[in-house]
């Protein structure tokens, strides 16, 4: 039995795809939203630290699973290794309805104006493909606002003097500081910095028909037991479904785009929940599968019209793979600073996001999410015992007396950090898997060293009895903040999609996820991905309503 033709197929029900589904189905378009995973609930994994989305030693709580998924990673010496989905090198994002928005820490950052104009602000950076976005912050501002109000953000932008201008405040008041944040707040102020409560995609008050957050320590990496965390799974996706125009097909693996004999993309091939091969035709296709899976799908879709994959005429698909090097410092105190007010991260500064001497970009600094018991076993000053009596003593003494000030550094896009498809390794469904290769730009380490030194300064000023830096910025980037692999741009020779997310060389294929990011900001990217979902979704919906069928 063949599937009924629809107006739009959306691949991936995460931060981008969920938003697009709502925008298109509310505009009256018939939509099939594909998701490789399923709906997930808190009860499936509870607060199991070893099987979460943050610590994954026993598996990814919300997928992808180790049985069916593989990736290949190219080592520094050129050799390759096959990695399991739960291993760090896999660079997973959750495979479930809502994807990472179910289990994220939920920081809700807007990028700054400079983040869209990195080349204009800092000039050419040798060895980097650093570039301006084809859209500005001001173009995207109303989309950020929509994301904040429809999905739900708690914060107080007035306290951050570096925040880009906004028209409307956040819909919910900010979260209060926990004890460690209060200690850090006075330290930051003494140093002349400008601390403020982190904007969060969590309910600080009852909002949108869901309860207010109860501040559990197990939040980042876990589903919320009371549904107080705002993701696409409990906001825009239900809204899309309630229009009656959107069908969500879970446990479906989209394997390639269907290209007809005229070179038009007419739909997608996929494996349904029983692993049967099926096709779904549509007028338009919106790929929102993440900065790793989106290029994979495009590269796996070849024909005489697209001999190296859809959108890949100039070999830019999968290039400029970025993420965030996390960098900062730890501090130990001689009194309890842990008050079990979750999720831990509550305070931030944006003083070092831009215009730092000798540094391209920068990043926010925030206190880290609660370091759970197993996670904490690996946090020790350099040279400390990693086992035995004194390791246990440290665990007892400092579990409630440590903090980490840390942030994501804006990475320099690097052309040779890339997502390809592997020539031989296939997944459970026989689809060629992702092959990851490359490394970060050397400038990233400089940014990390800079930001870590500032973090340590804050901890010392706060009265920490011992501090040490943790400096990131080496090796292959990616991780859960993965981005950049289908760059947005005006020139088809140096980008993959146009400023509305449409893949060059196609009339009806769009991308709406972090693959679009020209640069990834010095901020957690979730809210920007959502905003881009509105940007692309609104464009498609308004054109559709004007009669444009994207032929």
């Amino acid at each position: 039995m063949s599937n009924k033709h629809v107006n739009a197929v959306i691949v991936g029900a995460g931060a981008g795809g969920g938003v697009v589904a709502k925008e298109l189905s509310e505009a009256g378009m018939s939509v099939v939203l594909f998701e490789r995973g399923d709906w997930v609930s808190f009860d499936a994994h509870d607060i199991d630290e070893l099987l979460s989305q943050r610590t994954t030693v026993l598996g990814n709580a919300f997928g992808p699973d180790n049985e069916r998924y593989r990736r290949v990673v190219v080592n520094e010496d050129g050799s390759t290794k096959v990695v399991l989905a739960s291993e760090n090198d896999y660079n997973n994002v959750a495979a479930c309805v809502g994807s990472g928005t179910v289990s994220y820490g939920a920081m809700a950052w807007r990028f700054m104006r400079e983040d869209f104009k990195m080349k204009t602000t800092y000039g050419h950076v040798e060895g980097s493909t650093l570039e301006d976005w084809p859209i500005s912050y001001d173009d995207l501002e109303h989309c950020y606002e929509k994301a904040e109000w429809e999905i739900g953000v708690a914060g107080d932008a007035a306290q951050n003097p570096f925040a880009a201008p906004r028209k409307k405040p956040y819909p919910m008041p900010p979260f209060s500081y926990n004890k460690e944040a209060k200690i850090l707040e006075s330290s930051m102020k003494r140093l002349g910095l400008h601390p403020f409560p982190i904007p969060m995609l969590r309910n600080s008050i009852p909002f949108n028909g869901r309860a207010a957050c109860v501040r559990r320590r197990s939040c980042c990496g876990f589903a919320c037991p009371i549904n107080a965390k705002c993701g696409t799974h409990n906001t825009v996706i239900p809204a899309a479904l309630s229009t009656g125009n959107c069908e969500l097909r879970t446990n479906c693996i989209v394997s390639k785009l269907i290209i007809n004999d005229k070179g038009r993309i007419t739909g997608v091939s996929y494996f349904d929940k029983d692993n049967n091969s099926q096709e779904q035709t549509a007028d338009i296709i919106v790929i929102c599968a993440s900065a790793t899976e989106t290029p994979r799908l495009m590269l796996n879709s070849k024909s005489k019209f697209f001999p190296t994959g859809v959108g890949n005429r100039y070999d830019w698909v999968g290039r400029n793979f970025q993420g965030h090097a996390y960098t900062g410092a730890f501090g130990l105190f001689e009194y309890d600073i842990f008050d079990d007010i979750g999720p831990g991260a509550t305070i931030a500064i944006s003083d070092f996001s831009h215009h730092n001497r000798g540094i391209i970009g920068g990043g926010i600094l925030a206190n880290e999410f609660t370091r759970l018991p197993y996670f904490f076993t690996n946090i020790r000053p350099p040279g400390s015992p990693t086992w035995g009596k004194s390791h246990k003593e440290f665990q007892k003494k400092y579990f409630k007396r440590n903090t980490q000030v840390v942030g994501p550094i804006q990475e320099m896009p690097f052309f040779d950090s890339r997502v390809q498809v592997d020539p031989s390794v296939k997944d459970f469904w026989g689809i060629p898997v992702i092959r990851l290769s490359g490394h970060r730009h050397p400038k990233d380490v400089e940014g990390c060293e800079f930001l870590s030194s500032k973090a340590e300064l804050i901890l010392k000023e706060a009265g920490a009895s011992f501090t040490w830096q943790s400096i990131g910025g080496k090796g292959l980037s990616g991780g859960q903040h993965q981005s950049g692999t289908c760059r947005m741009g005006n020139d088809p020779q140096t980008s993959v999609v146009d400023k509305f997310g449409r893949v060059h060389d196609t009339s009806n294929v769009f991308v709406a996820d972090a693959s679009l990011h020209v640069t990834n900001g010095g901020f957690n990217p979730a809210l920007t991905i959502m905003a881009l979902g509105y940007w692309v979704g609104d464009y498609i919906a308004s054109e559709w309503q004007k009669g444009n069928r994207f032929v």
């Binding site: 630290e49 099987l51 320590r217 018991p373 197993y374």
Partner: protein
């Protein structure tokens, strides 16, 4: 999600805490709270009896008993035994190879089993293993350091991870560091 159940579960937690104090919650009731039951096992799933003794000694070295239980009594080996036929099936060969090599090393060097060595000698053997200082074919090519790190991190997981996986018996490590379990909003209830 069934909100009714959620509420009743939370209420149960509250009542149990108020009436008995979280410290005296029984293992049975905690299992109920976590939504999974642990049935006592007969026999082991992966380790032989000899390997159990050896593993317990190793776990005890990694997390020694002090005023709180150590790796042996916190069920670390039970955790590993379960994981090695589950998510850690891929490490079975490493364990077989590593434990056999450790036995052989102790036999050659001390004419004794690892677990019969003095505490300090056991520590020294593990330190040598960590630093790739042990003699023997099996330890070559980085296996010594690799396997020690595997043992170390797995023991930590068994001691500090959720009891649902067979370790951290009676939530002992959470009690030790003074965090309540199940988590109750606000200050912890142990007063430690």
């Amino acid at each position: 999600m069934d909100d009714g159940n959620r509420l009743s579960r939370r209420d149960f937690v509250k009542i149990a805490t108020l009436s008995a104090g979280a410290l005296s919650l029984t293992v049975g009731s905690l299992s109920f709270i976590e939504g999974c039951t642990t049935t006592p096992k007969t026999g082991t799933l992966f380790f032989s009896e000899n390997e159990i003794k050896l593993m317990e000694a190793i776990a005890e070295q990694i997390i020694p008993t002090d005023e709180w239980p150590g790796g042996r009594n916190a069920g670390v080996v039970n955790f590993l035994d379960e994981q090695l036929v589950g998510p850690y099936r891929r490490f079975q060969q490493d364990y077989r190879k590593g434990l056999e090599a450790l036995e052989k090393t102790c036999e050659n060097k001390f004419h004794s089993k690892f677990e019969k060595l003095s505490w300090d000698s056991q520590t020294a053997v593990l330190q040598d293993m960590e630093a790739s200082r042990l003699n023997g074919e099996a330890w070559k090519n980085g296996f010594s350091k690799y396997y020690f790190e595997l043992l170390r991190s797995h023991c930590m997981q068994g001691f500090y991870g959720s009891p649902r996986h067979g370790g951290n018996k009676d939530y002992i490590s959470y009690k030790m560091i003074g965090i309540d379990q199940p988590p109750i909003v606000g200050e912890n209830r142990y007063g430690i």
